[in-house]
Amino acid sequence: MSKYNYTTKTTYYQKARFFRKNGTNEFAYCIEPFSFFNESQTYESTLNPNNLTQTQIDRISKIAHFGYGYKNHTDIKWYAITQMMIWQASDGSGNYYFTDTLNGNAINAYLPEMNEINNLINSYDILPSIANKTYTMVEDHSIVIEDQNKVLNNFQTDDNRIAIQNNKLTINKLKEGKYDFTIYKQENIYNQPYIFYQSNNSQNLIKTGNLNKLETKIKVKVIKTFLELSKIDKDTQSITPRGEAILDGAVYTLYDQNNNKIEDLTIKDNQAIIHNLNFGKYYLKETTPGIGYTLDDNTYEIIVSEENSKTSLIMENKVIEKKIIVKKEYGENNSFLKEKNIMFNITNKNGEIIDTITTNEDGIAEITLPYGEYQFIQMNTTEGYSKVDPINITVDNQEEEVIELKDYKIAVPNTYTKQTINWYYLLQILLLLI
């Protein structure tokens, strides 16, 4: 191998050789390519040798780490390759290359090996895609995040609230708040850290070892979400139901975006709330309306996200209504006339008058009533005709109902029977007496 100093325009040729520490036989690499090694000099150990920048220290320590002795890099060629790469990194003023013989011609030897070391260094420096990012999750839900850089498996954590497996990070259920989680990478190949040795009168060295722990953080924000449904009557636009209908008891079913049922929400006190619904898209459908209401056949799309963590929906229900048409007639002998100006009081089940209707010229009066039970009470009548008995009406469907009220005035034959004497019986008695 040779090195050419552009400053002095001098080429140095050198056979690769091991630097080993006396006593321990541990090997080291030269980090001053144009200084000579003086075996008699003493060295001081340091993490920051004065001839290198921090960038160089970082690169050289990684070349040494992934070079000779790393996993299957046991052939001594790896030492020469590692040394060559360390020189290239430590002093850019020179040109470094392998030669075919000592003082021979430059050759492109060991390029694959150098590429492998470079790849290992580059991979080592790659952080997971989740590093230094902030994730928002919902209270009481866990999340799983996959590392797009596919290096997460090289990291570990000491925090039992998170777990790393199969290149995925699982964050367990947490309460509302902000959390910082640390993951780190630390390879223990050499059972010792790398260290530099420097001397004023001899070339500085590096002894290979484990790299510094590579740490990164993941920030997690845990928030609460809620989905709130408020139930109102469509007509009153309030929680006051019409008629005898009841808003409470309506059931909505929540589905995920694949139409899988999640749960039923039952309206109570005009409300239903789901706390901490996880982020995602949902669909909501009413499956059972409140008593006396028609089914709300809308499908509501709900997106729960960090920006839309609180969803409040006002759900309307239309009360069941029935149109009641009263046709009032009166007459004799099947000949009927339309009976106009006949009033009917309409009472609810508590006997309270809720409305009054009056027949028109055609003897017709109509009203639309909401769900409930009612009585139609005739208040007046045409002279000579009786009033109809109160009519009970139940509104529990939407089919129009016609009530035909005919007052018959029927001529009846005289059904009076005189108390007749049984004359023959009387005569018989008289004859006997005689």
Partner: protein, 170 residues
Amino acid sequence: MIKKYYIIILLCIVCIMIPRTEEYTKIIPNITIINKTTSTKIGRINIKKIKLKEDLYKIGSEENNVEKHVTILKESIFPPTENSIVFLAAHSGSGKIAYFQELDKLQEKDEIILTLNNKNYYYEVKDIWEEKKNGYINVNKESKDQLVLTTCSPTKEQYQLVINCIKKES
């Protein structure tokens, strides 16, 4: 003795001159027009509670007469026509034609079976009331099949008893 015969003869004359009672007038025509009743009979009313089982005759027939039978009033609309209403009238009081003599014993929910054209219709009493007599009764037509029975009030003079019945759900 002669005086006694005079009295007997006098009583016989009186008997002959006395107008026939309703009971009597009923019996004769019934016997004489048996064939006719067979042809005009259209049904029967059966009220178990008062042990009444009487045939009914076509409106317009001679037998459909309150002096002979339970009478169907001409305003009647027969089932199975929807919202039918059948009016039946008969004498109360005493005598054989007093078919509705015990009509006032009926109460709400009591059952009346009306047979028309060999089909039975089951009614139950809904309302009972009495109206001042004026030759008419007032009946409200309901959106149901009705049967209205009427006779003179057995308890209140110059009042008409009216019983409104509703056909039972089949």
